[in-house]
């Protein structure tokens, strides 16, 4: 069991090391997020109140878009360097490969958000009810996204037209998680409704559990060559 976790940690560390060397993954995701918010501001920012109300949703749209970019990018690296082939013939359980990649993706996406969300909050002068809860919302939202995203990236990595296929597959499947995190963030930004808050939490947790289980089971079938 200990070995299992060590193997996962090594895989995660590998991705972090690569990114520390290149420094482009995290930076490009963050830059993309800020730029898209800017574009949104130009497009619909004429009425500031409207933009403020839409902010939680916009934050997550931006996250989804930059997440899809990041996912595709992280996997292209693996394919180009031939790393994926080496990983597949290595004597580890397939779930280790999935968890390693998924955790690395979660960490990158979460780091981007941890930098990006406070910037938004600062610009729009929003007082968050609870920073801890905000962190958990980001965490759980990201876990769902990256488990689905990792599976679908691997799935589409060897097919034609993968760049467009990934968002087409991932967006409709992410709708429940998107609804939950946006409502939760609205609650945290603009006022807490206890009952509503908890029912969204339950749904988000349920979604994450179902998705995580299915993707980890599905991964074995997807990578067998």
């Amino acid at each position: 069991m200990l070995l299992y976790f060590q193997q996962i940690l090594i895989l995660v560390w590998k991705d972090i090391l690569i990114d520390l060397q290149r420094k482009d993954n995290l930076l490009s995701m963050l830059l993309f997020a800020i730029l898209s918010l800017l574009v949104f501001q130009f497009a619909i920012g004429k009425v500031p109140e409207l933009f403020l109300i839409a902010l939680p949703g916009l934050i997550w749209i931006v996250t989804l878009l930059s997440g899809v970019l990041g996912l595709g990018k992280s996997f292209v690296q693996e394919m180009e360097s031939g790393c994926i082939g080496a990983l597949l013939i290595s004597p580890v359980d397939r779930s280790v490969l999935f968890l390693g990649k998924m955790l690395a993706n979660t960490i990158f996406l979460l780091l981007t958000q941890i930098m990006f969300v406070p910037i938004c909050l600062f610009i729009f002068e929003i007082d968050v009810m609870s920073w801890t809860w905000l962190f958990f919302v980001l965490l759980f939202g990201t876990i769902g996204f990256s488990s689905l995203g990792t599976l679908l990236t691997v799935m589409t990595s060897t097919v034609r037209g993968k760049e467009i296929l990934l968002p087409i597959l991932i967006f409709p499947l992410m709708v429940p998680s998107l609804l939950c995190v946006v409502r939760l963030m609205e609650n945290l930004f603009f006022g807490l409704d206890q009952q509503e808050f908890w029912s969204w939490w339950k749904l988000l947790a349920g979604f994450d559990i179902v998705l995580f289980t299915v993707t980890i089971l599905g991964f074995e079938f997807v990578v067998e060559e």
Binding site: L148, L151, M155, T156, T158, V159, R160, G161, K162, L165, I168, L169, P172, L173, V175, P176, L179, C180, R183, E196, S199, W200, L203, G206, F207, V210, L211, V214, T215, G218, F221, V222, E224
Partner: protein, 232 residues
């Protein structure tokens, strides 16, 4: 093989006669419902397509699991053709819903849980076919599509739940409530009978399309095999 042909012919005539019978019953014999008027008649197409759509995608779910378990390409073919037929029924469901909605609620589209879920189901399975089209290897196509089919079908109840909460918690949907004629017990027996009849007919029609498509898909594969054999 001959037995299969017989079944197809039976189903074909069953659906032709059944559909004609239902049309005559619904349009010529049945009185016009008092509260909704003539547009209510689209219910006899709408509700059966709803049932057929969800049945079709449940078949996709079941046969995707069966494929991953047994690795028999026949299971994947059934899942594929069921998804195809399901997608057609789903499109029909969305269109008839919009046509019904306009005179009844005054709008073609509303972000209600049932409508949104159906739209997303449609979009997920459009992606499913896009994925199938982009893979050239048959076994790989079956594997990837099965995994996506399972995830897609499992996601549907969660999507439904989340959209339902999104509507009810956020803005109480007192404006209107979607009623599937089937569930409400207030529907008079006179209207219920043709509905049940059309449900049965549409299900026969679904089965007919499913088997027909399965058969043609099988022939296509046989042909492909013959072509590759003669090339060597």
């Amino acid at each position: 093989m001959d037995k299969m042909k017989k079944i197809i012919i039976y189903l074909e005539w069953g659906s032709i006669l059944g559909l004609t019978f239902c049309v005559i019953w619904i349009f010529l014999i049945l009185p016009i419902e008092s509260s909704q008027g003539f547009p209510q008649k689209i219910m006899y197409l709408h509700v059966p397509t709803f049932i057929a759509t969800y049945l079709a995608f449940f078949v996709v779910f079941a046969f995707s699991i069966a494929y991953l378990w047994k690795r028999d390409l026949m299971f994947d073919q059934i899942a594929k053709v069921s998804a195809e037929v399901g997608l057609i029924f789903c499109a029909l469901l969305l269109v008839t819903g919009a046509i019904w909605g306009r005179p009844t609620w005054g709008t073609y589209w509303v972000w209600d849980a049932r409508l949104t879920t159906t739209l997303l189901l449609f979009l997920i399975f459009m992606g499913y076919f896009l994925l199938r089209m982009s893979v050239s290897d048959r076994d790989k196509e079956a594997r990837l599509a099965s995994v996506l089919g399972i995830i897609g079908c499992l996601d549907i109840p969660i999507i439904h739940k989340s959209v339902e909460w999104w509507r009810t918690l956020h803005q109480p949907s007192t404006l209107f409530k979607v009623e599937s004629g089937k569930a409400s017990p207030s529907i008079p027996q006179e209207l219920l009978n043709p509905l049940l009849a059309s449900i049965i007919v549409i299900l026969v029609f679904y089965l007919y399309l499913l088997i027909l498509r399965f058969q043609s898909e099988k022939r296509k594969e046989e042909l492909n095999q013959l072509i590759t054999e003669t090339q060597f």
